[in-house]
């Protein structure tokens, strides 16, 4: 499903070069629930960004669903993301002026899906993530956990093959974080969606079926647990 081969990513800050990823190779199969773990600056987010086609690599190759995304142009990457990828962010990144329903359904409006279907799918998914009755609430009237549930629904609404989550529980208390992980896992099992998430939290790592440890831009270990 995802083939990462010898990926290199450098960042330039003036004359200083930061080697964020130094030849990372990784294969991820359909339906995996995989955690990319490591300390701050280890390259977790960079790797996620590269898989998510929102950053450009300096070396190596990334193939997703048989397509070489690393050589795609800007427009093709945008189209690819629109159809195949879902994102969950640490800070939820919900649009404050839109309701929970609108925050989720707008993703489908990008795919030109008929309005009836948009409504049905959004309502069903909001119910599935435990937000029934809260569809018309704006983010400011939702708790952090509820906001992240909206973000999960937003990531899953288009039935993507892959969901990328960058530190999805970092802004939540441990109980809510655990609930969110349970929900993600439940969705992973139900929809067979591949979840790739970054974390440096031990509890989050324990939930992963596979744990990839990054350090200084290199994979230190790759452990399958399930």
């Amino acid at each position: 499903m995802i083939k990462i081969e010898n990926v290199i990513r450098d960042y330039h800050a003036g004359e200083t070069v930061v080697h964020a990823l130094r030849g990372v190779s990784l294969d991820i199969d359909q339906g995996e629930f995989i955690s990319i773990a490591g300390p701050s600056g280890s390259g977790k987010t960079t790797l996620l960004n590269l898989i998510g086609c929102i950053d450009a690599l300096d070396g190596g190759e990334i193939e997703i669903k048989g397509e070489k995304v690393s050589t795609m142009g800007k427009k093709d990457k945008t189209n690819f993301r629109r159809i195949n990828l879902g994102f969950i962010f640490q800070t939820y990144n919900l649009i404050p002026v839109l309701t929970a329903y609108e925050n989720v359904s707008f993703v489908l409006s990008l795919l030109d899906i008929p309005e009836d279907e948009v409504k049905k799918r959004t309502m069903d998914l909001l119910k599935e993530v435990g937000l029934e009755g809260m569809e018309h609430r704006r983010p400011s009237r939702l708790s952090g956990g509820q906001q992240q549930r909206v973000a999960i629904a937003r990531a899953l609404i288009k039935n993507p093959d892959i969901v990328l989550a960058d530190e999805p529980t970092a802004n939540l208390d441990s109980k809510t974080g655990e609930d969110i992980l349970k929900l993600m896992k439940q969705m992973n099992k139900k929809h067979n969606t591949t979840f790739v998430f970054s974390t440096h939290d031990k509890m989050v790592m324990d939930y992963a079926d596979r744990l990839v440890l990054l350090h200084d831009g290199q994979i230190m270990s790759d452990e399958r647990r399930a």
Binding site: N49, K75, T78, R82, I83, F89, T91, F106
Partner: protein, 415 residues
């Protein structure tokens, strides 16, 4: 598209105060545009009317050589039998009146005016029986009576009367050269004072009966001009060839008011250009305001922008979303501006602004004596409305583009 419109509309409510302030700036710009345009249009409309009613008429028949030598007011370059031409015009349904323009000196005696003196004047000899069919002086009489045929009497403009201290019953003497070059002194009693709305006329007007001038200056029935009245809606220049046709063989020429008032029209055009520049600057200020607002709005939402781009929203759609938002501010500003503009127009059209304190002593080109009144211009209101929306929409393009140049990870990291 429905989502983009909803999104743009909802974003307008995100920073209500900022939206209102920006819309307010646009509204003021649009209001000023509508107001100034109405005022200028009213001033021009009134000036043209006052030109035709008190100065040039719609058109004028002159001796072929008169216009070139008009500064000398030559009596010998005249129309020898004006009545014949007036009759010919009348047969064709054209209203006309004859006049003589005379250059001379007005002599003021110390007995009447406190001190002796003289000043150059242009005396206009009119036919009291037909002049008011072409011009509108009778309506401006504020004191005394109008002229009658064949009397040694004069009408005077109110500002002129004020300047020299003339009153009804005052006697003045005009020293002028008659047809042939002899000097003639004509004693005239002021019988009426006219408050002519055309300041250029009101400042210098001295009118006497045609027959009186004819007798004293030995004109032998000749006139220096025949003034023609055409319908206000008529295209004067288009009607001139037909009138010229009626003059065939008489060594006469007919001129439209636009040709005679070329100086005024050039001045009005220049003023319009100058005002256009001011209005352009007003719009630029409004455009800078909205550009700044959009810049702030966009840079406060860079992370959101990153999220939308991550989820596959194209740059084009994001650009449309922000431009729609700007269009919304423009729409709000345009609605407010048009309402304010219409209110301001009501004031300028029905009440006007009194500039008489300037106009009394200064010639600013407009043929308006004091109160500037506007005129409705629905075209301008419509243009201002749509320009407000269009400019607002367009100025959002640059800040949106700037934000879209950031890469997505930088957008997502943006604080």
């Amino acid at each position: 598209m429905k989502f983009l419109i909803t999104f743009a509309f909802k974003n307008l409510t995100r920073y209500k105060r900022r939206t209102l302030i920006t819309a307010g700036a646009i509204a003021v710009g649009i209001m000023m545009y509508i107001f100034i345009d109405a005022m200028l249009m009213g001033a021009e409309y009134e000036s043209v009317r006052n030109l035709k009613w008190y100065e040039t008429a719609s058109a004028r028949i002159l001796n072929d050589e008169y216009w070139e030598n008009r500064q000398q007011l030559p009596l010998d370059l005249s129309i020898s039998d004006p009545d014949k031409i007036i009759d010919r015009l009348d047969e064709n349904g054209i209203i006309a009146t004859k006049r003589i323009s005379i250059g001379g000196d007005l002599i003021l005696s110390s007995q009447e005016f406190g001190e002796d003196g003289n000043l150059p004047v242009t005396v206009t000899a009119i036919d009291p029986s037909t002049d008011n069919e072409v011009f509108h002086y009778a309506d401006t009489l504020i004191e005394g009576r109008f002229l009658e045929q064949d009397e040694d009497a004069a009408l005077i403009g109110s500002w002129f009367a004020e300047d020299i201290g003339a009153k009804i019953g005052s006697w003045v003497t005009v020293l002028a050269r008659g047809n042939g070059g002899f000097y003639e002194a004509i004693d005239l009693e002021i019988v009426g004072i006219l408050n002519c709305p055309n300041p250029n006329v009101n400042r210098t007007l001295l009118m006497i009966p045609f027959d009186t001038a004819d007798y004293y200056l030995a004109m032998d029935g000749a006139a220096t001009e025949i003034n023609i009245k055409l319908s206000d809606l008529a295209d004067v220049d288009a009607e001139l060839p037909a009138i010229q046709e009626l003059l065939n063989g008489d060594d006469l020429t007919v001129m439209s008011w636009t040709a005679m008032a070329r100086d005024y029209l050039a001045l009005a055009e220049a003023k319009r250009g100058g005002t256009g520049m001011i209005l352009f600057l007003i719009f630029i200020i409004a455009a800078v305001g909205i550009s700044n607002t959009m810049l702030m709005a966009i840079f406060e939402r860079v992370r959101e922008l990153g999220m939308m781009r991550s989820l596959g929203m194209s740059d084009a759609k994001i650009r449309i979303a922000f431009m729609l938002e700007a269009a919304g501010i423009g729409l709000l500003g345009s609605i407010m501006g048009v309402i304010l503009g219409i209110v301001a127009d009501f004031f300028i059209i029905n009440v006007g602004i009194d500039f008489s304190f300037i106009m009394r002593d200064m010639d600013i080109g407009y043929r308006i004596q004091g109160i500037f009144r506007g005129a409705w211009n629905p075209g301008t209101i419509v243009i201002a409305f749509f320009a407000g929306i269009l400019i607002s929409t367009l100025v959002a393009y640059l800040p949106t583009n700037r934000a879209l140049k950031m890469d997505i990870p930088s957008c997502l990291r943006h604080q």
